[in-house]
């Protein structure tokens, strides 16, 4: 029996390990395999994955793309109705360009997210069920295309949750999902 302050002598590597400690080692190894397997498996069978193609793009060019999209979109009372499956959102201090928008339930949209200035956080929650929420990081110089499909109609609120300057707390947007 040995103190952690003393240098172990002799062949300490070959000393027996307690049976319960050995079982615990097995549990930890098995659990790590489950953690990896589940995460990797969810990319194949799961419906929620923060994945999609990313492109390098200058903030100016991205802003032009969002502007072109806005001109093409139908301007309804509650916001922009996207002309096709693409939804463009430009994060800027302290506003979400392209929001508010009106989307159809059950339709798959390609959300293009990017920034005109600094880093932002694209954080969506359902207005009446706050626990339904998720966040994606928004970087200038990167256009990230992430597909989303909403089944439940309602208002979805977007707040910025990456510090972007003193007006950060005011950066809010929303979109409506209709039947």
């Amino acid at each position: 029996m040995r103190s952690p302050l003393d240098a172990p002598e002799g062949d300490w590597w070959s000393e027996e390990v307690n049976r319960r400690e050995t079982i615990w080692l097995g549990i930890t190894g098995g659990w790590a395999a489950v953690l990896f397997g589940w995460m990797a498996g969810w990319t194949q069978i799961g419906d929620q994955n923060p994945t999609g193609p990313t492109e390098r793009i200058s903030p100016e060019r991205y802003q032009e793309k969002v502007t072109a999209y806005k001109e093409e979109a139908e301007d309804a009372e509650d916001g922009l109705i996207p002309p096709g499956e693409d939804v463009f959102i430009g994060a800027m201090r302290y506003n979400w360009d392209g929001l508010p928008a009106v989307l159809e339930a059950g339709k798959t949209y390609k959300f293009h997210i990017g920034s005109y200035d600094v880093q932002h956080g694209f954080s969506i929650r359902k207005g009446d069920t706050l626990s339904k929420q998720m966040s994606l990081q928004v970087l200038p110089e990167y256009e990230w295309v992430v597909e989303m499909e909403f089944d439940e109609p309602g208002t979805y609120h977007v707040v910025c949750n990456e510090f972007c300057g003193v007006g950060h707390r005011t950066m809010h947007g929303a979109f409506t999902v209709r039947e």
């Binding site: 302050l5 172990p8 307690n18 049976r19 615990w24 990797a40 929620q48 706050l130 998720m134």
Partner: protein, 600 residues
Amino acid sequence: MLGLFDNDYDADGFRTCSVTGLNIHRSAENMVKLYGLTSVVALLVGGIFAFFVAMTRWEAIGLVSPNDFYKFTSIHAWNLLIFWMIFMEIAILYVGGPFVLGRKLALENVAKVAYGVMVAGALLVNYAIWTTEQPNQAPLLTSYVPLPSSADFYLGVVVFLVGALVAALPFLATIWKEKREKPDATLPLIAFGAFICSIVAAEAIVGGLITFVPTYFWRIGVIEHLDPAWYRQMYWIVGHGTQQINLLAMITVWYFMTHVVGGAVVASEKVSRTAFILYLFFINMGAAHHLMSDPGVSSAWRVWNTSYAAYGAVIASMIHAFAIPAGLEVGRRARNEGGGTFGWLWSAPWKDPGFSSTILSIIMFGFLGGITGVMMGQMQLNMTWHNTLATPGHFHATVVLGTTLAFMGLLYYVIRLLFGKDWVAKPLATIQPYLYGGAMGLVCLMMMYLGVLYGVPRRHPSVMDIPGTAFDFSAAKPLFAIFGVSAILAIVGGGLFLALALGALFLGDDYEGEAAPTGAGPIVAADGGGGTGETPAETDSAGDDAEAAETAEDDDDGGLAAHAFSMRGTFLLTLVFFVTFVVMYALNWYLLSQLWTIGG
């Protein structure tokens, strides 16, 4: 200085600690005191700012303006996450090296210079944050490019990091000298843990320099452009890497304190050291989990880095989660301190704040900090945690409940054994870890609930009133109230620690080290039951607890191998931990599966 640096040393500058039996040289002891005291100053500054931050987020109080909130949060973060921790960790390296090996601190003057550089860097960072003016923004901990902070801030960070890197050299030189003299000897487990900690620290700090030197040049206009995705990836080498220094230092302190105060022994040298080696190779990749919801890295990169690598470290942490209580269980069983399944635990010195801080740190780090860290490190689950208040909930559980509590426990003994002063107001000292740990535990839980269940964002001075919209988070008010009251109690608990520490240093009686730590029975000199027990027991009596315990009664001098003692109490406790882990994992995935379809 105020008598704090006087101890009686022999002609060679050594003295023997009456409690641990360590041979301590003046050169190492003075540096440990210097770095340790400085870390406590950072704890005081950061703690004061914690009050303002918490009382702003609890909007029923709403203490400071939105502008000031970011500045106050930045000062809180840098002083507690960086300066309190790293000054303390340098002290821990000097304990783990020179103290444990019974050597002088090599290159003592280098340690002094490094100290000066670190202090200069820390002061410059604080000054730069405090004087932030537009267009600069408060850096918070991350100072994400291209949001500009004061150029002095980046410079201060570089200076501090250089100082910290240099401060590790005397430790490494001490280890080098030891190995030159005794090339075949194995380092004691504590020294080994400290050594691995120093390597992880060096990796983190070099990563920090690679990040902050170019960022400084970018801020002063020498470099025109920095890629924000590059910055994030490089920044987190130091941003998370420093937290991994905390982890390794904390675990080394756990081994040290459970031994010194509770009489723990090493359950298995092979297993514990293998766990440290796993950290060495794998824990640096834990930083990848900050990029799980980022556009700049591919999903293959994300899954790979949070699986093969991070789980190497997760396994290591789970090994320590067994090995440390098992060492305590075996050590106490061997001295006949409590039979049955948990008698060794009931009989432990729970009134001793050094012991209770350590045990609370182990339990709360595991249940609240460790489990949640793994959740966030799953690529998909990360979407529900990323940048919500749950993220600070997680890292307050690791860094406050885990590291800060462990360091407080260590400091209780630094006061006794290095400064030679006994604690004052002992009933208050007994209460302090429970008050601080309990209240802080609630704070962390509330932050996690607010983040995951209500989606409340971090880094917001107000979410009950968002200008320009009717939308707000007022549904979360009741949880914020619990958060706010708990935060006040936690800050009272932290303040109590500082008052007790200063009270002991300046008003405490001399501590002779003769009395046993409160409630620890006959263990005074925690020599771990002798170091001569290399002969394994003849039979594998691990399953036969009664026999092992009986044998132990006859042989308290280490004649029996640690593995022969029952670890059934520890095994049951770790099973409870494992079941909690599985349940939390399943709940988080259930919550995620309720979301709309995301990703192709």
